[in-house]
């Protein structure tokens, strides 16, 4: 007769790992390409010549001065996801000396979008 009983069910990792999975440490911080609203866009938009728009702002003396606003720029560190359109926060537009950031040749967020708001199991 086929043995049906498990002999020993030991699952020591479960509770702790499931709850702390997303909080990685000692990893390179994220480097993402964002738009002017700090939403993630495709990495290639941050490569090549910088794209920017010009906004005329009052100079306080009755005239205007051009204000150059980058449309897309790298965003170093912080929180938020890699998925396109996700909002980032807590980082900055310049790297902080002494910290390591993900390589520019590495892109992320290319998997996971279809199930970003629900599970993919069945």
């Amino acid at each position: 007769m086929t043995r049906r009983r498990s002999l020993q069910v030991v699952a020591p990792l479960l509770a702790a790992t499931a709850l702390t999975l997303a909080s990685g440490c000692k990893r390179p911080e994220m480097q993402r390409c964002v738009d002017e609203h700090d939403n993630v866009v495709a990495d290639n938009l941050c490569q090549g010549p910088r794209q920017q728009r010009v906004e005329q702002r009052p100079d306080g003396h009755g005239g205007f001065i051009p204000f150059f606003i980058p449309l897309y720029r790298p965003y170093y560190g912080g929180m938020g996801g890699y998925g396109l359109g996700e909002h980032v926060y807590g980082g900055g537009y310049a790297p902080i000396p002494g910290r390591s950031y993900a390589s520019p040749s590495v892109t992320r967020g290319g998997f996971g979008r279809s199930f970003s708001s629900r599970g993919s199991g069945e």
């Binding site: 086929t2 043995r3 049906r4 009983r5 498990s6 002999l7 020993q8 069910v9 030991v10 699952a11 020591p12 990792l13 479960l14 509770a15 790992t17 499931a18 709850l19 999975l21 997303a22 990685g24 000692k26 990893r27 390179p28 996801g81 890699y82 998925g83 993900a102 390589s103 040749s105 590495v106 892109t107 992320r108 967020g109 290319g110 998997f111 996971g112 979008r113 279809s114 199930f115 970003s116 629900r118 599970g119 993919s120 199991g121 069945e122």
Partner: protein
């Protein structure tokens, strides 16, 4: 097979949480006076019934493999809406026999006739830990003298040990950030660790593609050579990294392998019926039309948790909404409905999940619903047999 109402353990919440099942009482189920983990009832089986279920699942596995071979031999990929660009890799993977770990057949059964196959969740099944661990712990406390159709845990560890020499370490585990998916992946990771395999875990969105190396990398930018992903292949292929996954498939081990696309697709059901017409464990099933059937279930080729399914009988029609419209459909005869009654008179509809570890059935988990379609609000009910 009978449904037995019993008193839940007083501290059941703490006990299931202790092994990681912290979504036992989702708000939408609580609103209906129900819980996801429900030990206010259980199902009792006879040994003969368990034999019958085990035998049916093992036979279905062999038939499904034969059906996959048939799809490959006859190039029936288009009928399953498999993308052309994936075919070469699927055929390579099928012949190369990369590691496959698990799957879950869903059967309709009430003890009065042969089990009827509803579908095969061959790529991304969940509710694994509930079946392998939580209901086992329940059995040991509540029915210590009884048995349970459940050697899932042991079989998983044994399978990982079998394939350990063939995979690079660490073995990565990945899913989206959903509690049910995370728990399933974390549990599988646990069994791999217990088999002596070093592991790492990450989210699907954290997988990186390194253009310079032409390889997938982890968050530390180390190359990924082996990965278990709880994420459907059809979604992976449709996403940005899909071409890279196909292009590098031969250079890394993906678990489950890509050929599971053939079996997790509901198009395998009409093909099974075509190859084995009238088989006692199959339901009549066709592509695109119910033909002469008057009671049937209409299912998209790819859907999850009962989404976009329609149940049609001469008396009426029930439709479940969802995000999986716009696909080809299969039409499967309505199975003889397994229905049990609670003490308060309410009907309960169980579906039996038969877990395949590698090629053998290793246990059972039961999901139970208030209606005839199993969805993501179905409860998990433990079982035993004598």
């Amino acid at each position: 097979m009978q449904r037995i109402s019993i008193a839940p353990r007083a501290d059941w919440r703490e006990k299931v949480e202790a092994v990681g099942l912290n979504f036992h009482s989702p708000a939408d189920l609580l609103a209906e006076g129900a819980t996801y983990w429900d030990e206010s009832a259980c199902y009792e089986f006879s040994g003969a019934e368990v034999d019958q279920l085990e035998s049916a699942a093992n036979e279905m596995q062999q038939m499904c493999l034969a059906a996959a071979q048939h799809v490959i031999d006859e190039k029936r990929y288009a009928e399953l809406e498999i993308p052309d660009e994936a075919i070469e890799v699927i055929e390579w993977a099928w012949n190369d026999e990369p590691p496959a770990i698990y799957g879950r057949f869903d059967f309709m059964f009430d003890g009065s006739g042969p089990p009827k196959l509803l579908e095969y969740n061959a790529d991304t099944p969940t509710s694994l830990m509930e079946a392998a661990v939580v209901q086992w712990n329940w059995l040991e406390e509540v029915y210590p003298q009884a048995d349970q159709f459940n050697s899932i845990h042991d079989r998983l560890i044994a399978k990982w040990k079998d394939i350990a020499p063939y995979i690079s370490k660490p073995l990565y585990f990945s899913s989206v950030e959903d509690v049910e998916d995370l728990l399933t992946v974390t549990y599988l990771r646990d069994t791999a660790e217990q088999a002596g395999i070093p592991t790492e875990q990450m989210l699907m969105e954290e997988i990186g593609w390194d253009d310079d190396q032409g390889r997938f990398v982890d968050p530390d930018e180390h190359i990924i050579f082996s990965m278990f992903k709880l994420y459907p292949w059809e979604a992976m292929l449709a996403e940005e990294f899909g071409p890279a996954a196909l292009g590098t498939y031969r250079d890394m081990k993906w678990i489950e392998p890509i050929w599971k696309m053939l079996l997790s697709n509901k198009g395998i059901l009409p093909i099974l019926w075509e190859l084995y017409p009238g088989h006692k464990n199959l339901l009549e099933c066709y592509f695109d039309s119910p033909k002469s059937m008057t009671s049937y279930v209409k299912k998209p080729l790819l859907s999850r948790e009962g989404n976009n399914i329609s149940l049609v009988t001469p008396e009426g029609r029930t439709d479940l909404d969802g995000p999986y419209g716009g696909q080809r459909f299969v039409y499967q005869a309505l199975a003889p409905q397994a229905k049990f009654t609670k003490p308060d008179g309410a009907d309960r509809y169980p579906v039996l999940g038969l877990w395949m570890i590698d090629q053998e059935c290793g246990g059972m988990g039961i999901r139970e619903s208030a209606g005839p379609i199993t969805d993501n609000l179905s409860s998990f009910i433990p079982h035993f047999f004598k």
